[in-house]
Symmetry: C2
Subunit: 342 residues, 2 copies
DNA sequence: ATGAAAGCGCTAACAA
DNA sequence: TTGTTAGCGCTTTCAT
């Protein structure tokens, strides 16, 4: 099934076969008879170009890499999908890797992808370190970071407008009359966490509500962290009437913790969250969320990457923001006067 | 950054550099000095083997393909993840493709992956045709179909025990006292749909409940289909007290339709579903489902594929079943006597 | 203990 | 209009 075989059958040289099959018959003024012979021979043995050989020869793999912390998380899956669809449309294939939220794995995977000659990379970093990514970029690899960016450094990043979302959610809670608010944070030190937290805090402060360290708990964007943090906060500060969960997973954990402590949402406790959950509207209760436009994140990342692959220079602004939509549902109500029991 | 460069720097031949870097220094009794020189040279310029060149030479790409109808669907995402993790553990990389539930796209993508010399393929088919897959398998490509199998043919398939789940769900509905039951089916002609439907029908029949064509609606495993089908059924047969949705998406559509028709689940209408939904327990109402073990589906598919890649012969039984767990939640209750209004 | 050379499948510059 | 040849980066026989 090689070009050589086709050439043999057609009784021409490999070069001629190559030219014909590349559609360059006209440009090279190859005789119709030859073209026909080659075409038929190729047809007959079901010839297909070896992408491998072509890549080696041309130096172009038409491959891009996508690295996410957890493919099965609908949030990352949606991003991966947009990139995949865009790639297919542009004639690229996608190498997918799952870092399992592990920095070391991510490093390994990125290296592995580079060894495979990817022409571009989209990554949602699992950790706080970016040197391996900076190295890749410095080595000339077009790179786009998505969702989890870094506050410093020089990596082109597509992420939501976390501050906007957090502020809006703060308004919702304040408007409802909450003054004792707890925050279930994700991983401190990450841009996503810190931006959301800072903006939320600032918004509360401008309304005279102070958010002390004692009102903040949690250490990861996970359900377990959310659950533990919620339990801690609700036990230590029973006067808390509303929780702000920095992610959907955290919110789920909060719902669990609330149920375990016998606090009914939203009757005894309001809950607002940054979301990536599909079907949040069908949840019990339907969650008030700052809804990220996940497909847009993926699409924008893909667009930026393919623009760079097409030679378009990097945009000036390093952090590309996708705006967030706050959807008010039933999980936030006015604080009840009922004294919570633990 | 090529072997040639390393050889130059180390002052040895390419062959020697290759041997050293392949860790075959010992086997070839290469002098320590040479080994050191090569190693240092490689280190110095950050040498990495070109996977491309290696693949071309060896004929082994260490690449597998995964094709699913929709990467962003948590069900397929979970399957893709398990395969990805297994692949990484075995030293393979994964080429991911999204067929967008489109048969023609799938064909194209499969071909594309084959052109890239994948060594194995896992696919969840989008359509009813399997000739392109059979062709790939006949061409010697190790292939595993996951979830959506075919009733006939010879493709090794990992799928849930649909009959078992459907029977169990039928029991639940019958036990609750339902006699007027509607089925919201997925795509007729697919193994998944037909097995679930047949088993459900049979289970009802053995209890004396007849399921006529007038009690069955729907044409796709999608929310829109579920919504339309539910609306149709509930309008045409208001006496229906329970619906069986053949998938989570369909169930979501059913919930919408029920809400639109003013029927409260489960008070006015019970709902049972085949599920792949995460967080079904937090839904309103929490859904009674036949819960598929999605990670197990992916894991089993990966295991079978890598076993074949390791030379283990294909198992005798073509259809590998993963058992399903019925979880009874609040969406099924005894039928109300209240006359439904449209 | 090391090197020369062939070849994996393909493309393209150069010849004819 | 077609063929010869070199070479992409690597591994591996076969020499030495």
């Amino acid at each position: 099934m090689t070009l050589k075989r086709v050439a043999e059958i057609a009784g021409v040289s490999i070069a001629t076969a190559s030219r014909v099959l590349a559609g360059k018959g006209g440009a090279h003024r190859i005789s119709e008879a030859t073209v026909a012979a080659v075409t038929q021979a190729a047809e007959k043995i079901g010839f297909r170009h070896s992408h491998l050989a072509r890549s080696l020869k041309s130096g172009q793999s038409a491959l891009i890499g996508v690295v996410v912390p957890d493919v099965s998380n609908p949030f990352f899956a949606a991003i991966a999908r947009e990139i995949t669809l865009a790639a297919e449309a542009k004639g690229y294939s996608v190498l997918l890797a799952d870092s399992r939220e592990d920095d070391a794995s991510e490093r390994r995977l990125v290296q592995q992808l580079r060894d495979r000659h990817i022409e571009g990379l989209v990554v949602c970093p699992a950790g706080l370190k970016q040197d391996h990514l900076a190295a890749a970029q410095d080595a000339g690899l077009p790179l786009v970071v998505v969702d989890r960016g870094f506050a410093d450094g020089d990596l082109l990043t597509v992420t939501s407008d976390h501050a906007q979302g957090a502020r809006a959610l703060a308004q919702v809670l304040l408007k409802a009359g909450h003054r004792h608010i707890g925050v279930l944070q994700g991983r401190p030190g990450t841009l996503v966490n810190d931006e959301r937290l800072a903006a939320f805090k600032a918004a509360l402060a401008s309304d005279g509500v102070r958010l002390t360290a004692a009102h903040i708990a949690g250490d990861a964007f996970s359900e377990v962290s959310g659950r533990r943090a919620a339990a801690t906060l609700l036990r230590a500060k029973p006067q808390i009437t509303a929780l702000f969960a920095l992610s959907n997973q955290i919110a789920l954990g909060a719902l669990r913790a609330a149920a375990e402590l016998g606090r009914v949402v939203p009757r005894d406790l309001s809950l607002a969250t940054f979301d990536d959950l599909p079907h949040a509207e069908f949840m019990n209760p339907p969650l008030t969320t700052a809804c990220q436009d996940v497909p847009a994140l993926g699409r924008q990342a893909a667009d930026l990457l393919f623009a760079r692959l097409a030679g378009v220079p990097r945009p000036r602004t390093r952090l590309q923001r996708i705006s967030v939509t706050v959807i008010e549902r039933a999980s936030v109500t006015a604080p009840s006067t009922r004294k919570a029991t633990t």
